[in-house]
Amino acid sequence: MKTLIAASLFSLATAFPAFAQVTVDDPWVRATVPHQKSSGAFMRLTAAADARLLEVRSPVANIVEVHEMLMEGDVMKMRALPGLDLPAGKAVELKPGGSHVMLIGLKGQLKEGDRVPLTLVVEGKDGKRETVELTAPVRPLHQHRGHMQ
């Protein structure tokens, strides 16, 4: 019986793509005001084996890019990245003040409590690609203390 439960748990886990190679923790998207055309998505990614995040897709935006944020002196810069390395077993944070997923050309306002579907396209070292589907809750534009990391 024990073996049977273990076996079915295992098949459940493998059936769910998020468990296969890349785990996504604590995803969220920043809320927008009406007519605001872009926002950021944040999450923590952990790959079981060396991998690379190649692309992010979302039905809420026309363009989705992975951006890095740089501070040069006091100047904030954002640049699109061709990909983001996910070293085996190491949590890669997409968070305010660092890299993030940029949602550009939003089709509508993102309100607190909405859920934003995201598809991550990840490539393993063997060149095999997999997609990870997730939904990220929308958190308020103004992050109260405690939400800030």
Partner: protein, 203 residues
């Protein structure tokens, strides 16, 4: 101190002189110290002339009696600008009863996209007292130059983002530029500096 100088050891007199001089310096000139960079007397950033979301022209003189903190940013900014505005909300909370003596002004470096309505909705999302100001492209260039704030439009995809300076500037209640606040500075350190400015008899 009632003792006559006569008969006092020269060394003691010397020490007394130093202590007296130090006390005079500390109390007399009353130059306050700050966590932020003290830019008192800077030859830039004397004023601004910008438009509020209701179409009214605003200058520094509108806020006499308040400490004014200005921040240059843009609304499509996913990250740094919301963080700076959330920090200002926290500064207000830390000021307690003096909260209304701080005016936060958000100056957009992206006036093409950040029009009045969106500017108003954006600042109100943080605090109803926050004020968003904008200008024409030319006026934006001028005000950024006056405050030595760098910004630049950078294409990305079929859209664009803005590189921009993240230093906030703080004016005292008399409307003089006093402090430059770094992006990494905490709300606590800013609140302490604002309190100092509110209590500074020279402000």
């Amino acid at each position: 101190m009632c003792r006559k100088p006569f008969g006092v050891h020269p060394l003691v007199r010397a020490v007394l002189a130093v202590v007296t001089a130090w006390l005079l310096a500390a109390c007399g000139s009353s130059a306050p110290t700050f966590h932020s960079i003290d830019v008192t007397g800077a030859n830039y950033g004397h004023d601004f002339r910008l438009t509020d979301p209701d179409g009214r022209e605003r200058t520094l003189a509108d806020f006499r009696g308040k400490v004014v903190m200005i921040y240059f940013g843009f609304i499509q900014c996913p990250d740094v600008c919301p963080t700076a505005l959330s920090r200002a909300v926290e500064v207000r909370r830390l000021l307690g009863a003096d909260a209304d003596r701080l005016q936060l002004v958000f100056i957009t470096v992206d006036p093409e996209r950040d029009t009045g309505d969106i500017l108003k909705a954006y600042t109100a999302e943080f605090d109803p007292s926050f004020l968003g100001l904008s200008a024409s492209l030319e006026g934006t260039r001028e005000v950024a130059e006056q405050f030595r704030v760098f910004y630049r439009k950078v294409p990305t995809g079929d859209s664009y983002t803005m590189d921009h300076g993240t230093t906030s500037y703080v004016f005292d209640p008399a409307g003089r530029l006093r402090l430059a606040v770094a992006h990494a500075q905490t709300a606590q350190s800013i609140a302490a500096d604002v309190k100092t400015l509110l209590q500074d008899p020279n402000s």
